[in-house]
């Protein structure tokens, strides 16, 4: 009988996963720490740094800015990416491969290169330090991600649903509204979420083209690092991590629970 000793490799994988997760075991306790500087383990616990994160204008303004820029980027990206994804999946045209390549380009170009590019270009257009400039820049960078997610969803879309609707007398636009969009809604939600996180996390371009009033949260965190490593940083980091945890883990758990239900309908 075939057998192999899988324990060592499984143990190794678990150890490496623990290493990957290690930072969170530090950042979260640090956010409740009373230590005025980077010190681990914490000498005591309180909620003061969270209070400062949510009340100090130096932190609330960047948080607000990041949310505004993230939402603007999400809307603009989806508006541009969704039709392009339809064209790429449902139509054949000359230059399609080239277009596909061009749409993926922003994924490859280093952020520092784009930071320099926008710094000078938006300077000419008078868009430096504005919400508009940051939204335009972030939209370019997250376009590939959105298109990848949407084309993947469109490829598995069963077009017979649309044909059936058409056969029953539905006009194209009605079919789109009543059949196509609802089926694709999860893909739009996932794409939107990814774009939002992408924009919310982006540091390098924001560092160069955001201004005093449009400072984003990552830029504020970066500067705080360089200046004095303000412990409010760990509260900010924990909030960001919790947001990601909710965005990533909750859908996974919901899917797991639903999956179990589907298998055993009695429960």
């Amino acid at each position: 009988m075939y057998s192999e000793n899988t324990l060592p490799v499984k143990l190794l994988a678990v150890l490496i996963a623990l290493f990957i997760a290690a930072p969170m075991f530090v950042v979260i306790p640090m956010s409740f720490s009373t230590a005025p500087s980077l010190e681990f383990p914490p000498p005591g616990y309180w909620l003061g740094y969270y209070e400062r994160f949510f009340t100090d204008r130096n932190w609330t303004l960047p948080l607000f800015n990041s949310i505004v820029i993230g939402l603007g980027t999400t809307v603009l990206t989806l508006v541009l990416a969704a039709p392009a994804a339809f064209a790429l999946v449902r139509h054949d045209f000359r230059g399609k491969a080239l277009l596909n390549l061009a749409l993926m380009m922003p994924l490859v170009v280093p952020h520092i290169v784009m930071a320099l590019a926008y710094y000078s270009y938006f300077g000419m257009l008078r868009l430096v330090q504005s919400y508009t400039g940051l939204i335009l820049a972030h939209t370019c960078l997250s376009m590939p991600v959105a298109i990848l997610i949407l084309t993947a969803a469109l490829k598995t879309f069963d077009r017979n649903l649309e044909r059936a609707a058409a056969n029953l007398g539905s006009r194209p636009l009605t079919t789109f509204r009543l059949i196509t969009l609802p089926v694709l809604k999860p893909a739009f939600l996932v794409a939107g979420l990814f774009v939002f996180i992408h924009s919310f996390d982006e540091t390098v371009i924001a560092l160069f083209i955001s201004g005093r009033d449009t400072t984003t949260l990552p830029r504020q965190m970066f500067n705080s690092f360089l200046m004095q490593a303000d412990p409010v940083l760990s509260a900010a980091s924990s909030v960001l991590f919790t947001a990601v945890l909710i965005a990533v883990a909750v859908p996974a758990v919901v899917r797991a629970v639903r999956g179990k239900r589907a298998v055993s309908p009695r429960s």
Binding site: T6, V9, A13, I16, P83
Partner: protein, 278 residues
């Protein structure tokens, strides 16, 4: 003329043109402007490039960037492989938990994780404390060294590597390994002659992704690294912010861009670019 425009608008063009035009105006034109500045600021010609390649410091920075990217890629591959292997080959609860940890880490911002390493590797951090307890005196400086930034970048990029490896490994049929064992191969032999070759596309994908991401790294080397061994992105940042030398910064940016795109072109010749993200 009018009719050709209206025919164009009935085709797929009306769907992809908005995105294409947007990227033309807000992506390609700014990039071309960088290339333009590299040849025109402050003087017209190749001055910025000859200055870059004549400076032993800047060439050193470029070489150091490539060296660091190679080290980070190799180490993250070595550590990522077992995790992806266990998740793809054995699956189950362990596989799901591994994937969840990796995905969570993947989505946690680089800044947050860089900050964590700043705490862990810092003077008052647990590593230094442990070394002191072991009798290491004076306590070693870990933060702001090449080691700290290389180590943190490896940690940051490992999830990329694991997820790309996993995407390929998931499609490897597990019965091949049993067949090899049935024919008398020992586990190690079965692994090296069956599984490893089948996972090569994943290794190639992951390595290229990690390598080119590492080439352009800005935040982590600036925050954790030693000022003595800069990476090229940090140099570009200095030229913009401290020197206001747009021509020089542009030339460096173009060198970095050409290196990145060149690697991609080379890669796509051998493996096909379209497989990278699917």
């Amino acid at each position: 003329m009018g009719s050709s425009v209206s025919r164009l608008l009935r085709g797929p063009a009306v769907l992809y043109l908005p995105a294409a035009l947007f990227l033309l105006v807000f992506f390609l034109v700014p990039l071309f402007n960088v290339a333009w500045m590299s040849f025109t600021e402050p003087d017209t010609g190749f001055g910025n490039y000859t200055a870059f390649f004549a400076s032993s410091f800047d060439v050193g920075v470029l070489l150091n960037t490539f060296k660091t990217a190679a080290i980070v890629t190799l180490i993250s591959l070595i550590f990522a492989y077992p995790v992806a292997y266990v998740a793809a080959r054995y699956g189950g609860a362990l596989g799901s938990i591994l994937l969840l940890v990796v995905t969570l880490s993947f989505w946690t911002s680089f800044l947050v994780r860089t900050y964590a390493w700043m705490v862990i590797l810092g003077v008052k951090g647990p590593i230094t404390a442990a070394l002191i307890m072991l009798g290491w005196s004076p306590p070693p400086q870990i933060l702001f060294t090449t080691f700290a930034s290389t180590f943190a970048m490896t940690h940051l990029l490992m999830p990329f590597m694991i997820l790309t490896l996993y995407a390929v490994m998931r499609r490897i049929d597990g019965t091949y390994m049993r067949a090899a064992a049935g024919l008398g191969a020992r586990p190690l032999k079965a692994f090296t002659s069956i599984y490893l070759p089948l996972s090569l596309p994943g290794i190639a994908n992951g390595s290229v992704l990690v390598f080119i991401t590492c080439l352009g790294f800005y935040v982590t080397p600036v925050l954790l690294g030693s000022p003595r061994d800069k990476m090229i992105a940090g140099r570009i940042g200095d030229e913009i912010e401290q020197m206001l030398n747009f021509g020089g910064a542009s030339a460096m940016a173009i060198v970095l861009l050409v290196a990145t795109l060149g690697l991609f072109a080379l890669y796509s010749r051998f493996f096909g670019l379209d497989k990278l993200w699917r």
